[in-house]
Each structure stands twice: as structure tokens, then as C-alpha cells.
């Protein structure tokens, strides 16, 4: 026996029932759990920012730039887990040069580029251009040049041009909302379009992905806002938290409804695959589905959010609760990604058995790698907040 295959022999010993002999290996591991999680954070954060802009929600103003920069820093690494899980990563460029039009994964490359270059970068650029011009005039040395390059040489700050900045930024936001919807709905489609897998194949999956994306993005912005305020030693505005909390509550409810709808539909139709899915849900997925995703990620946050709408006494306690809620929601959405990605591969396509899954720590598709891709955007965000501090922007009167 080749020691190279030792882990597969272990899995073989743990398989239950009958699985096809090629199903021994889980094809998509923890990195593919992280991938939709990160993309979801991007889409969610952006949608929150757009809310402020399009619907002129004044109260959310302090979080606008934070949300945009959060979205950007996560978007920059969004494709990395995908690329690092390939067994031939050096060939990844082929997706861009010969994309197969019928493949959901191929078109994702273009959806991603569109979103990165046309939506997010442009929106941030229009938003910051005025300030960057001012900064480039104020600063000395390297920083001066960095800002100069970032303005792309457009240093006209006459009222007319600035007016256009705002106008164009607004247009981009309008384009951006459907783009953000598409970006993450599309990630859901990568799974939802696979008719071979009954756990994934569902027209509701893209929509569910979208709403859970919004939930996670909003929670993340709330978290980042609190942490950034804390680090800057500025008071956290409770009104901001209340407003975000309200959105979080409604979207969490929607998300919960949609997911229940999907499961109820599955249970009622009880297709060929129903028996195996029932076993999956009550066995291998019990902890991550009912406890992590359902209880910790949905029910507890929902109750807490309702409570916070009425409880207005101890400010410190309220803030702590918002903090905990956002962390719980993030855990819940992460578990949801896990349940979809890993859960969909645990049962055999013969519907007669289960394989087992053990996450490795090291290697290109191990836990450390996944953690790295989750931590990296936080570093990028810190850098972006230093480079483009929202609190030092040039004030513009409306």
C-alpha cells in the first residue's frame, strides 16, 4: 500500500453504506467553504453601503466608507481560495482566456472582474478622488506620489468636476446593486445548477446565498464599525448600531424564511434522494445545521435583535449585545456555507451511503490556508483604512 493513500484507506474504513468507489475523496474542501463566505461578505457589505447612498439613510453615513473598503478588501482575496484549491493552479489563467460559456465557474471570472473594476473600484475612486487630490497636495515624498497615481492624474477639483464625481458615483451605485446581487447569486448558481447533486440543485439556492450574503455582510460591517471606533477611541454611535440592527433583523428573517421554504419543499416533494438527505440532516449535519446555523446563527440573534429594539437602558450592555449578535450571525452564515458545500458531498450520488470528511491542517487545501485567506482581507482592510481614512476625507456639503 502506498502511504500516499493512507488517508483514503482511513476514509474507506469509515464509509457507511455504499458509495461509488470514486467518491472516496471529497472534491471540495474547506477552501470552497471559505470562497462563498468571502464573496458573500463582499456583496453584503456593498449592499449595506448602497442603502445609505441610494435611499439616503443619513444615519448610516459613518459606515458608508467602512462598508465599501471592507467590501474591497474581501473582494481582492475572493478568488484566492478558489485558485489555491485547484490541483493545477498555474493554469488558472485559462479560465479568463478560454472561458467555456456554459460553465458557471468560467463566467464567474468575468462577473468578478466586472464587479471589481467597474463597480467597487470606481465607486471608491469617485468617492475619494476629491480627497485624494487634496491629500496629494498636502503630503510629501512617496505618499504624495501614491495619491497622485491613485487619482489617475485627474486633479481637477472645480465644483463642476466634483459634482460629476458625485453624479457618476451615484450611477455606479445604481449599477452596483444589481451587480452585487448577481455576483453572489452567481456563486449560488455554481452549486444550484448541478443537477447531479440533489442537495445543491435548487433554483432557490442563488437567492438563499444572496440573502445569507447580505446577512453576513451587514454583520461584518457592524463588527468592523465597532472595532474601528474602539481602536480610534471614538464613541460608538448607538443609533448607527440600532439602524444596522434593524436591517439585519429583517434580512435575517427573510433568509430564514427562504431556507425553510427550500427545506419544506424538499420534504414535501420527497424525491428519490429524500431518504439519504433525511439521514444526512439528522446525522452528519445535525450539529452544523441545527445547532450552529439554526440556533446560534439565526434564532438567538433574532431574539436578541428584537430584545434590543425595546431594551434601551444600559448602553454598554446594548453595545456588547450587538457585538455578540454580529459574531454569532457570522458563525451562522459560515456554518451555512459549510452545510451546503461539505454537506452536499458527504452522501453518495448512489443515495445509498456516506463518505466521511476530515479537514487537514496543512497543505494547499488545509485549514491553515483557509484561515490565511480569512485573515488576509482584515490586513488589507487595515491598510486601506490607513491609506484612505474615511474620517479624514474632505467634507462636502450637500
Amino acid at each position: 500500500m502506498d502511504p500516499h493513500f493512507q488517508h483514503l484507506y482511513d476514509i474507506l474504513a469509515h464509509a457507511q453504506g455504499y458509495i461509488f468507489p470514486n467518491e472516496i475523496d471529497l472534491q471540495w474542501g474547506i477552501l470552497i467553504v471559505v470562497y462563498p463566505f468571502i464573496t458573500g461578505l463582499v456583496a453584503g457589505a456593498f449592499i449595506l453601503a448602497s442603502l445609505e447612498r441610494v435611499f439616503k439613510v443619513k444615519i448610516l453615513k459613518p459606515t458608508y466608507q467602512i462598508a465599501l473598503l471592507t467590501a474591497l478588501s474581501f473582494l481582492l482575496v475572493a478568488t484566492m481560495p478558489l485558485i489555491s484549491h485547484l490541483s493545477q493552479p498555474q493554469r488558472a489563467y485559462e479560465i479568463m482566456i478560454t472561458p467555456h460559456s456554459s460553465s458557471a465557474m468560467a463566467i464567474f471570472g468575468f462577473v468578478y472582474l466586472w464587479y471589481l473594476a467597474v463597480v467597487l473600484l470606481l465607486e471608491i475612486w469617485f468617492d475619494y478622488r476629491h480627497s485624494m487630490v487634496v491629500w496629494s497636495n498636502e503630503k510629501k515624498g512617496v505618499m504624495k506620489w501614491i495619491y497622485k497615481i491613485l487619482t489617475l492624474g485627474v486633479n481637477d477639483i472645480s465644483p463642476r468636476t466634483i459634482h460629476w464625481d458625485r453624479k457618476l458615483g451615484y450611477i455606479i451605485t445604481i449599477v452596483g446593486i444589481p451587480s452585487a446581487f448577481i455576483l453572489h447569486g452567481y456563486v449560488g448558481f455554481i452549486f444550484g445548477s448541478l443537477k447531479a447533486n440533489p442537495w445543491w440543485s435548487s433554483p432557490l439556492i442563488p437567492i438563499i446565498f444572496l440573502f445569507s450574503a447580505m446577512v453576513s455582510g451587514i454583520a461584518l460591517v457592524m463588527l468592523v464599525y465597532m472595532i474601528v471606533s474602539y481602536l480610534r477611541k471614538k464613541a460608538i454611535d448607538l443609533n448607527v448600531l440600532d439602524a444596522i440592527g434593524k436591517y439585519l433583523f429583517f434580512i435575517l428573517i427573510l433568509d430564514f424564511t427562504l431556507e425553510s421554504l427550500d427545506q419544506i419543499h424538499r420534504i414535501y416533494e420527497a424525491e428519490e434522494s429524500f431518504e439519504i438527505i433525511k439521514l444526512l440532516v439528522s446525522g452528519k449535519l445535525y450539529l452544523t445545521l441545527f445547532v450552529a446555523q439554526g440556533l446560534i446563527g439565526t434564532i438567538i440573534p433574532l431574539i436578541t435583535l428584537v430584545f434590543l429594539q425595546f431594551y434601551k437602558h444600559k448602553i454598554k450592555l446594548q453595545k456588547t449585545m450587538y457585538f455578540i449578535v454580529s459574531v454569532l450571525v457570522l458563525i451562522g452564515v459560515y456554518s451555512m456555507r459549510w452545510n451546503v458545500v461539505i454537506g452536499g458531498q458527504l452522501f453518495s450520488k448512489s443515495f445509498s451511503g456516506f463518505t466521511s470528511f476530515k479537514v487537514g491542517l496543512i497543505g494547499l487545501d488545509g485549514t491553515l490556508m483557509a484561515v490565511f485567506w480569512l485573515v488576509l482581507p482584515i490586513g488589507i482592510l487595515a491598510f486601506l483604512l490607513w491609506l484612505l481614512p474615511p474620517w479624514k476625507m474632505v467634507k462636502e456639503e450637500d
Binding site: 474507506l12 461509488f20 470514486n22 485547484l86 493554469r91 485559462e94 456554459s102 465557474m105 447531479a196 448512489s350
Partner: protein, 262 residues
């Protein structure tokens, strides 16, 4: 900074910029034009109409004939350099045993290579049979549909193949095949599956599994040729494909397929 100098500066930049823009646009246009002329394909490479002179391969597996000896699975591993381990098979044999209480026992120890041992006591057996499995060479194959780069495709002869030099190893096709026919080759690190022994067909030989099947349970042939043995067989027997509701356009027809088979 006075108003006049800035305007003048702007105008100067504007002309040089316009020039540059013009060049850039021409360059882009020329490249697009060239790519277009080259193959009239910018990003999409359309499939060519099927060549009627080439065979269009289909397969038949006769379940009644299969004795579960596993010679096919063994020969396949030998012929196609698949690691000799109890996982990763381009073809394998399953044994279904339907018990008197209605429950179904499915096994495929080492893909059937070492034969089968009946573990269900004889008095409990309602019926039992062997089912050889392999790639169905689907004509509407979900696996080629999802490959992001075109590294798996249907050959003009209707054989679903993999381009080992182009596969990026994303495993999307493995997920998309409803029959569990694909795997990532542990040494080559690219997708792998039955090629219907394309290299043998091209040399005028039978696929290895058919060469070594002692009972002739497997058959391949040209679906276009109405006089081929395969087409005749299909005419005379009631055959079925696996998972017909998924509409994969499977070209592997089973004779005597029982409803328990997945």
C-alpha cells in the same frame, strides 16, 4: 495656481491624450478584428457540425450476461495506468442483492476486481445481479457543460475525453457527473475517467474491458451505422439508461436494468 495656466495645461494634455486614445482604440480594434478574422470567435468557440463520416459511439451492457468476475475493472486499471488501489476506477462492477424484506444491499469491494462474495444468506435473497459501471459518454454531458476551460469535451466520435495538458483540476466536472465516473488522478493531478480506450479505438482495437470480458456482456458500436451489431441489439431489446430523468443523453444502454440500480 492661476486659472489661465491650468486651462492651457489642460488643453495641451487634452490633445496629446486624444492622440493616445486614438492609438489605443485603433490597437484594440485591430486586435479584436484580427481575433475575429482568425476564427470568427472572440471568446466563444462554437462546436463544429458533426462529421457524418465518423462513427458515433454508443455502448451496451447486458446485465444478464455479467458474472461479476471483475476482469474488466482489472484490465482497465492495467491499460490506463490507474493506481491499483481500492478506489479510483474508470470502470467498476457493483453487486445488487435485493432481500426478501425489500431492502437492497449494494457492494463493490475493490471495484469487483477480486470478484464477489455473497454475504447475504441464500434464503434471504429475493434476487441478485451485477451491474458494471463506466462513463456513459453522455451526449448532453453535464461534465463537459460545467468545465470552465474546455478541458473535457466530446470528441467528434461522441467519446467524452479529457485534455490532461489543459485541465486546471477544479473538480467541477467530478461534482457534475451524476454517475460518479470521474476522479482526480492522484499522480497526474488532473481529472480522469473512461476514454472508451480512445487510444485503442484509434488503433483498431477494442476497449480493454471488452477485450477481457469473458461473457461479452459489454458491447460498443457505431450508432450511425444502422447495420451495426449495436444498433441491431438496441432494436431487439428493451434497454434503459441510468438516471433518465436527468437527461444526460447517456449513450450507455443497459439491457435488463432493474429499478434498484442507481
Amino acid at each position: 495656481m492661476s486659472q489661465s495656466t491650468s486651462t492651457m495645461g489642460n488643453e495641451k494634455i487634452n490633445t496629446s491624450r486624444r492622440k493616445f486614445l486614438k492609438t489605443a482604440v485603433t490597437l484594440a480594434g485591430a486586435t479584436i478584428g484580427y481575433t475575429w478574422l482568425k476564427s470568427s470567435q472572440i471568446l466563444l468557440f462554437a462546436a463544429k457540425p458533426k462529421d457524418e463520416n465518423l462513427p458515433w459511439y454508443g455502448l451496451v451492457i447486458d446485465i444478464q450476461k455479467c458474472i461479476g468476475c471483475g476482469n474488466c475493472a482489472k484490465a482497465c486499471k492495467n491499460e490506463n495506468d490507474v493506481p491499483i488501489e481500492p478506489f479510483f476506477f474508470r470502470t467498476w462492477v457493483e453487486q445488487y442483492t435485493v432481500k426478501n424484506d425489500g431492502s437492497v444491499n449494494i457492494v463493490s469491494p475493490n471495484g469487483g476486481i477480486n470478484g464477489f462474495e455473497q454475504t447475504v444468506p441464500t434464503e434471504d435473497i429475493f434476487k441478485s445481479f451485477f451491474v458494471p459501471k463506466m462513463c456513459n459518454h453522455c451526449s448532453k454531458s453535464p461534465c463537459t457543460q460545467v468545465c470552465p476551460v474546455g478541458a473535457t469535451f466530446e470528441s467528434p466520435e461522441g467519446v467524452v475525453l479529457i485534455d490532461e495538458k489543459y485541465c486546471i483540476g477544479c473538480r467541477y466536472c467530478v461534482q457534475a457527473c451524476p454517475y460518479g465516473c470521474r476522479f482526480i488522478h492522484p499522480v497526474k493531478k488532473v481529472a480522469n475517467k473512461c476514454t472508451l480506450c480512445y487510444h485503442r479505438l484509434k488503433k483498431g482495437l477494442e476497449p480493454a474491458c471488452m477485450e477481457t470480458c469473458p461473457t461479452g456482456a459489454r458491447m460498443y458500436g457505431n450508432l450511425r451505422d444502422k447495420n451495426s451489431d449495436l444498433v441491431k441489439f438496441l432494436k431487439e431489446h428493451t434497454t434503459l439508461v441510468l438516471r433518465p430523468h436527468l437527461n444526460t443523453g447517456s449513450k450507455l444502454y443497459y439491457n435488463g436494468l432493474s429499478s434498484e440500480v442507481r
